[in-house]
């Protein structure tokens, strides 16, 4: 999505720049030495200068969390999470007031995301995550002894990494997910904040510092902003001597910049930019009652973050009776224009390229459409997927002969596939995985998760850590 698609706030540039604070290894850093303009809404803000020496922890220092058991880390995160309600937490309140100025999502949706953020630090989520990623979580807390088939002894530890987390710009409050991930692997963390979410990460870290300013989790965390692609910063710090891993939520130019700096010793763990889809079998179009039900489920999947989320469905492949499918399209359009927990009835209207292409399809009799170019839902029914990327509550319903024919439209960028009925996935899941798909869910449940699952076809925490091995081999082996 381009920033051009978001509304401008006309008075933005005439106001004083919004102050943005940093958080560096447990301490708030204020200052307004550097002026910036936010990418999406063109709002001016000012940050302190980044002190690179303070930001990078030398390798001669052991990670602050090294000797803190995971259980204690989880206890601390859960306790902090309980204090993150924006109704009662002044840091979060202030962050909300500023976030609405720089993020294109409507205030009510941002409030809801703030409300739901603490699920990322629920005890169940954290515990399951550690267990799913590490099998034996003891590797995080110490050296786990092992003996091979020849009787050689060794010990293995998931040693804390030094990490930069490039936070996603489209999901305010998701910073807490990255904070939790960084804490669980006991990393030394630098969060690179996006210009559309400059406040929540620091507000969360300040909340944590209020719980215990000396806690090693707090001491392991820094959050700063620089303009993505700023070579002065990136060329300096993206070096294996300073960081082992860069975890990035997203793709495009921001990632292309990082790729330049990858090499031996510094790895990218990328939560790649994704497109999600739905597949609806002929079973869905046989009665009005079922059509109503699946239209609501499909709309719920399509509208997450007003369709600016990786798991938000954009293409819906359908098979079956045309008449039922047309009814579904009409109903879906109605349901797209509904206020939801993570979506608003009105979203910014689709960008002009979508309008151009849809108008062209209409003029060439290649598409039936429901709705208008007003951000309240547009459904485009075609025989083949459209050439544009549907955004801003635009859904392309593609009528295929059979769901098997839809598999060819799945590619390496396909993340979530909402299926109706879910039983159809038994026959489709292998071809879908082979094509690049990553996750099949019940239609309507794209934003729900089964705890402990893979993310973007991997177990990321396992890839974050520095696997250190101590070996005492006397026989067997290679030479």
């Amino acid at each position: 999505m381009s920033g051009e698609t978001t509304p401008e706030r006309a008075d933005a540039s005439t106001q004083a720049p919004i102050p943005v604070a940093f958080f560096v290894r447990g301490k708030v850093v204020a200052g307004d030495a550097v002026r910036h303009r936010s990418r999406d809404l063109g709002v001016d803000f000012a940050t302190p200068e980044i002190d690179l020496n303070a930001l990078v922890t030398p390798r001669s220092e052991l990670p602050p969390l090294l000797d803190v058991p995971v259980k204690e880390i989880i206890d601390f995160l859960v306790e902090c999470g309980e204090r993150m309600d924006f109704e009662t937490n002044p840091y979060m309140q202030e962050a909300l007031e500023h976030t609405v100025k720089v993020n294109p999502l409507p205030r009510r949706v941002i409030e809801n995301l703030f409300r739901s953020a603490k699920q990322y630090v629920s005890r169940e989520m954290l515990t399951t995550s550690v267990e799913a990623n590490f099998g034996n979580p003891a590797v995080l807390d110490g050296w786990v002894e092992r003996t091979d088939v020849y009787g050689n002894k060794g010990a293995l530890r998931a040693f804390p990494p030094r990490m930069v987390h490039m936070l996603a710009g489209n999901a305010p409050a998701n910073a807490l997910h990255s904070i939790a991930q960084g804490a669980l692997v006991k990393a030394i963390n630098v969060f690179k904040m996006p210009s559309s979410d400059l406040f929540t990460c620091v507000a969360m870290l300040r909340t944590m510092a209020d719980v215990d300013p000396e806690h090693p989790v707090v001491k392991s965390m820094s959050a700063v902003y620089w303009k993505g692609g700023d070579e002065r910063i990136e060329r300096t710090i993206y070096r294996p001597q300073y960081f082992d891993r860069i975890a990035a939520w997203g793709g495009g130019e921001a990632i292309n910049n990082v790729i330049k700096y990858l090499g031996p010793g510094i790895q990218l763990i990328s939560f790649d930019p994704k497109t999600s889809i739905s597949m609806i079998g002929a079973e869905g179009f046989q009665s009005d009652a079922v059509i109503d039900e699946i239209a609501e489920l499909a709309a719920a999947d399509a509208t997450v973050f007003n369709q600016d989320a990786c798991l938000a469905s954009r293409f819906m492949f359908v098979e079956g009776e045309r008449k039922g499918i047309e009814k579904f399209c009409a109903k879906l359009q109605e349901r797209l224009a509904v206020d939801r927990f993570s979506a608003s009835a009105d979203s910014p209207p689709p960008p002009s390229d979508i309008r151009n292409e849809v108008e062209t399809l209409q003029l060439m009799d290649d598409a039936q459409t429901w709705g208008r170019f007003d951000g309240r839902g547009l459904v485009v029914l075609t025989e083949e997927p459209v050439g544009f990327h549907p955004t801003n509550k635009t859904v392309n319903v593609v009528h295929v002969k059979s769901l098997d024919d839809a598999v060819k439209y799945v590619n390496v960028a396909t993340q979530t596939i909402g299926m109706y009925p879910l039983e159809r996935s038994t026959a489709l899941r292998e071809p879908l995985a082979s094509a690049g798909g990553q996750r099949v869910v019940r239609l309507g449940a794209a934003a729900k998760i089964v705890l402990g699952g893979a993310h973007d076809a991997m177990f990321p925490l396992q890839r974050f850590v520095h696997w250190m091995s101590v070996e005492d081999a006397t026989s067997g082996g290679l030479y």
């Binding site: 993505g228 939520w249 990786c310 459209v386 390496v412």
Partner: protein, 476 residues
Amino acid sequence: LESCEAVRSGFIFAWISPSSRLAGGEYFMGQAVDTLLEYISREDAYTIPYADVRQLQVAAINERFQERIGKIKLLALRAKEAEITEIKRLEDVVPLLLPHTAYKSYPESVLIEKRWDRLTKWLDTVATYPVDNVNLDGVDDIDDWVERLAQAGHPVGCSSGTTGKSAILVASRGDNDWVCKDYVVAAAWGSGVKPAQDREVFGTAVVIATVRNEAIGDALAAAYGVPGKGRFPYPVPPITVGSIARMVALRKAIADGTAKPGDIPEYEATSAARQKAMDDAVGICADALIEARPRSIFIIGMWASTYKVAEEIRNRGYCGKDFTGDNTCYIAGGLKGAKLPDDYREYIYETFNLDPARNFQMYGMQEIGSSMPRCREGGRYHIPPWLVCLPLNKAGDELLPIGESEIEGRAAFFDLSLDGRWGGVISGDRIRVDFGPCKCGAHTPSIRDDVVRYSDLEGDDKISCAGTVDAYVRRL
């Protein structure tokens, strides 16, 4: 080229407007348009105060609207949606301006599946004149298709999408005549060098081979070049729409996962051969310019490629003192991503002994037919009365208030000269436009010489977990 005959035969600009016709039986349609187009033959084309033509421009846009609404299907659709039946104020035309991307809105699959009938049908939705007279028998690639359209009276222009689709811009023969005339008039005003058929014309840029670009080159050569000499064409194989389309098709196939590994080296071999031709061209062009150095030269090029030629000339031991002091140039703006030293302009001027004051620069775009020459004293691009500048907000849906001071916004134009397609276009450029007088003494609205694309301004700072498979295709 036939279409530029008028320009060659002594620069008598007898413009016969295609808009002069009776419509509705009540008033003479096209009067305002004609009056404004006639400025091209007048001395004050680039100096007349905006206030003198403002009202006439609104009337002229309405004339164009009334003529075209029944012809251009996309315009009719837009007008119906916006419930517009008449243009009474500039604001009224804003919903009817087509974004530059409208000319890329054809389904990509038609190129890949070679559905020329479908592509023609698409073109018909944006064309003024019905595109139903084109013989599509035996058309194999898009270059053939473009040629057949030209034969049927629909010269098609194209823009190069470096990674994506090309815009396909339908025009009429009248449009090409106009462009030729417009460029020569603009060049003469902007450079202060009167066309006197007294210099050798050199091309130093790689341009897309379209009827329009060829015609402009020929027109400038006819106006400024020594008769019978022709122009020295930059010696590289032309970039055709077909070559761009093949690249786009391969990219799409890679994204879809259907490209075979063997397809990629095949394409890369073609690219490598092209790169070699580009490298060789620099030396060939440098030699030709060195040979021509005792005579007056007119260089038509772009900054990046002209810089390379200049470097080669210096490498061979020649510089400004070897060239006459009478040279002139038309170098199109924008570096298009090329990295050049800060003093690249001075380096080029010095190499060819060019007086910067005799250098013609202009602001224009493939989507419109008319150009805006840069004045010498103020360094600003001047907008003639037949081209209406409509500064919009960044979102491109609101006209900014036009007042005394300079306005920053998204550039949109209504080109009253455009015949073969709708004249209203929204660009991707951010401009600063002033509707008051310029330091140079001209009173036409003028644009500051710092035009940038909004997409370049936004930079690399966007990060989102939502994205498309485009991010998974490495640049070819």
